[in-house]
Assembly symmetry: C2
Homo-oligomer: 215 residues x 2
């Protein structure tokens, strides 16, 4: 359980008691999220793009088409800030000022670099697939050379990272506690809706129907 | 229903057939999302911070403590890229390459400026509250002067903006269509969990229990 040294960028200044720097917490948030938001700078201006990703040990892989402006720009090794945010609930306090959300979020700062080596690239594609739907990869055909070529995979070290976590009830001002207003938390959870099959005569696999993540 | 002119920044290059530029689509996504990711540049490096927000006509308001690094930086009128992303489902195709997600996303580029005028600031706080939990504001006491002072509200014009939307089934290569693998969409929806009351003897209000957004 390594702890991260706070850097100038990762030191959490806003509500620092919500800050978490240990790797286990950071990894758990990264592993649960489905998308990340990747920020980068081009011509001095900020860009933010939602992307798929997967974690492998001390790295996060992100991917897109080689045509993507983000990844074209990143291929030279551009600095990025990658954020993953999970919203867990609405926190209804007794004053507007103390309203909040329960959430778990991670930010990682670093240089994303293109993965060129074929074996690592295929492994990253496997990780993207398994991150999105664990159990699926082994049912799929191997990627074709043209598909590998059309997919740009970048890796980002989890070196400069921090997490923020808010849990629990509202925190109200003492003088508001008697206000005649319901207060509490409205938990929010991501659930699976009814499957929409595109194939006929094939049962949905257990890794979909028994997937505990969204049930 | 105005259409937006594509600019160098908002022109969607990656899978352009998923691009949406009309204001009604953009507004609907902004109104449904709970958090945004705000990207900005400081000392030449990218930062991305998850934040609460609310839309009011042609503006998006974002907020935080005046101590926030982001908003301190923004107070001078820094360029931002604001992204809102809604994940609607996992798209399981017959090849890893054609896996995707169904999603709706908006990005807005522009300069965020601090809201200084008190009436606009209070209105923005009302909008934050109503965006997060419609119906709640009228039950709450008025903000105190010290709370207004401690809250920095920024506004960002919805002028340079675009949306991307993916819906529907997987799109497979012709030669994969006979693969013996289930294919389809796993829809994902945000649902309300069991309320966690922090007050006693007060029934949760209708705007919580009848909230159609997460039921």
């Amino acid at each position: 359980m390594s702890a991260f040294q706070k850097t100038r960028r990762t030191k959490v200044r806003r509500i620092p008691q919500n800050a978490v720097y240990d790797r286990a917490s950071i990894d758990a948030i990264l592993d649960e999220g489905l998308i990340c938001h990747v920020g980068f700078v081009a011509d001095g201006l900020p860009y933010v793009i939602p992307m798929g990703y997967a974690r492998a040990g001390d790295k996060v892989y992100i991917h897109g088409s080689t045509a993507s402006r983000l990844l074209t720009s990143l291929a030279g090794g551009v600095d990025v800030c990658l954020a993953v945010t999970l919203v867990d609930g609405l926190v209804l306090a007794r004053s507007a000022f103390n309203h909040s959300m329960n959430y778990r979020s991670v930010v990682i700062f670093g240089k994303a670099v293109a993965v060129e080596e074929e074996a690592e690239k295929i492994e990253a594609l496997r990780l993207f697939s398994e991150h999105m739907m664990p159990g699926r990869w082994r049912e799929l055909r191997d990627p074709k050379p043209i598909e590998l070529k059309a997919t740009l995979v970048m890796s980002l070290a989890i070196a400069e990272a921090s997490a923020k976590v808010r849990t629990g009830p509202p925190i109200d001002d003492e003088e508001d506690l008697q206000a005649p207003v319901w207060a509490g938390v409205v938990p929010l959870v991501l659930r699976r809706g009814d499957l929409r099959a595109d194939s006929t005569g094939i049962e949905p696999p257990d890794y979909v129907t028994l997937d505990q993540r969204f049930s």
